[in-house]
């Protein structure tokens, strides 16, 4: 007698792609603004990027209800931290908090695919990439979401060291300038939009550097 499975799922996938690239003194976090379900579009103007601290921005693709809950949880935890320590959380500290929060629900996970981008205490760009249950790693760049399989190989080609077999290992940040990184992000999203039905409408880019935070927007294909 085979086990009866539920014909109702608590999860849904609202689609979309997110990308983050770390530079020597900047960090770029980007996400498309399309929210969909099945073959329909729910809205063309939904932000997947959340400011968790002055120097920590999280972009999440997946089930947006879980993402919203996760963002609220982290913001609340950050507020308490500020009261207790009289300072903002650093990006690496926020990265650890996010990992712990995700693993806490190991057996009923947040259906969220996250990238955390920001500046570390030295002012260098940092990007952390996660899976749904909190496994994370500091990297120079990352892509998550429905278009990640289209975006990541291109970023690997443009940003990664030629071969992992060649030593010495390359630093975690990319040698690109801020302008070049933004150009790369725009190209990569325009390309992902062509081939992924869940990515499109508009691109939101957040740029963090020593001067502060800047928001940029770009139109994407709406079909």
């Amino acid at each position: 007698m085979t086990k009866q499975h539920a014909n109702w799922s608590p999860y849904d996938n609202n689609g979309g792609s997110v990308v983050a690239i770390a530079g020597a003194d900047y960090c770029v976090v980007a996400a498309d603004t399309r929210m969909s379900t099945g073959y329909s579009i729910l809205t063309r103007g939904y932000s997947k990027i959340c400011k968790l601290a002055d120097k920590s921005f999280m972009a999440s693709s997946g089930f947006q209800a879980d993402v919203k809950a996760l963002q609220k949880h982290l913001s609340a935890k950050h507020l308490i931290y500020q009261h207790q320590h009289n300072k903002q959380m650093s990006c690496p500290a926020m990265a650890q908090l996010l990992s712990n929060t995700l693993y806490y629900k190991r057996f009923f996970p947040y259906y969220a695919f996250n990238v955390l981008g920001g500046l570390d205490n030295e002012g260098k760009g940092c990007v952390f990439t996660y899976d749904a249950v909190g496994s994370y790693e500091r990297v120079g760049y990352s892509a998550q979401g429905s278009g990640s399989t289209l975006i990541m190989p291109f970023l690997d080609n443009q940003l990664k060291s030629p071969s992992p077999l060649l030593l010495p290992a390359v630093d975690a940040v990319t040698p690109l300038s801020e302008g070049e990184a933004i150009d790369l992000v725009k190209t990569v999203f325009a390309s992902a939009t062509e081939r992924d039905i869940y990515t499109g409408d508009r691109l939101e880019i957040v740029v963090l550097n020593a001067d502060g935070t800047r928001y940029e927007y770009m139109e994407l294909r709406k079909d």
């Binding site: 579009i41 080609n157 325009a190």
Partner: protein
């Protein structure tokens, strides 16, 4: 020559030889590769002088766009065209097959093909496959008896309608038709309405996208407007040219010459032509 036993699939129909293997694989958790579906918005409407068919141009395989500009309006006869939604291979195969059958029928009868003939060939074929041939069609044309528009479902049922939509974007397109359709539209009004309906599918349905194809069929004439509208250009082209300088790294070069099995010697005349 002895008896050569060749494993040939039975004439026509499906071969279920791999059923056991597939069942075993799916028990091990291996999923079937997604076949190319056309997602799709296809429409047809009858206007003053004939029939107008419309279609989008996106073909999807799962959530990936595999063809950004495919042709979904298929030729059936000089006066009959058919839009196809569903599995791309099925729509292509069934329309090609019936198109050939219609040509043979034309030779047999010495007359222009009728839309109801194409309709009957298609529905008989689809019904006999009990819905396994996943083709949902909008068939339109003008023959001696006048303009005709039909929808055909994968299981073989048909409808005769003044305006019709099929595919994943059919609801988005039908919303437009139900609001704006009226009898006795002129050619330009008809083309405008069809374009609007397809655009509704393109922008509101994720399975449809890219361009609008139109086909206008009237008595004794047809106009195939491929890419009549292209409302989705690429939004960003980098001013900087991307270079792909990183090649696969050569870590070691070692040449091992193969041992010669046959000694080649140049002898006398070359082979005669």
């Amino acid at each position: 020559m002895g008896k050569a036993v060749i494993d040939v699939p039975p004439k026509g129909g499906f071969s279920f030889d791999l059923y056991k293997r597939n069942a075993m694989l799916s028990k091990d958790g291996v999923q079937l590769p997604p076949f190319t579906k056309t997602g799709t918005t296809i429409v047809g409407l009858i206007f003053q002088d004939g029939v107008i068919l419309g279609a989008d141009t996106r073909a999807t395989s799962g959530s990936i766009v595999c063809d950004k500009n495919c042709e979904k309006i298929h030729y059936m006869a000089p006066n009959i065209y058919c839009c196809g939604a569903g599995t791309a291979a099925d729509t292509e195969a069934v329309t090609d097959m019936v198109s050939s059958q219609l040509q043979l029928h034309r030779y047999h009868t010495g007359r222009e093909s009728r839309v109801v003939t194409a309709l009957t060939y298609l529905k008989r074929h689809l019904f006999s496959y009990q819905g396994h041939v996943s083709a949902a069609l909008v068939l339109g044309g003008v023959d001696f008896t006048g303009p005709h528009l039909h929808t055909i479902y994968p299981h073989g049922s048909t409808d005769t309608l003044p305006y019709a939509t099929m595919g994943s974007g059919s609801l988005a397109a039908m919303a437009i038709f139900e609001s704006k359709y009226k009898e006795g539209l002129t050619r330009d009004e008809g083309v405008q309405l069809v374009t609007e309906a397809i655009c509704s599918g393109i922008f509101n349905d994720l399975g449809s996208g890219s361009n609008v194809d139109i086909c206008v069929i009237t008595k004794g004439n047809k106009e195939f407007l491929r890419n009549h509208l292209q409302p989705n250009p690429r939004t960003y082209v980098s001013p900087k040219e991307y270079s792909f300088t990183k090649k696969t790294e050569v870590l070691l070069t070692k040449i091992t010459p193969l041992k010669e099995k046959v000694k080649v010697t140049e002898v006398g005349d070359a082979m005669e032509e």
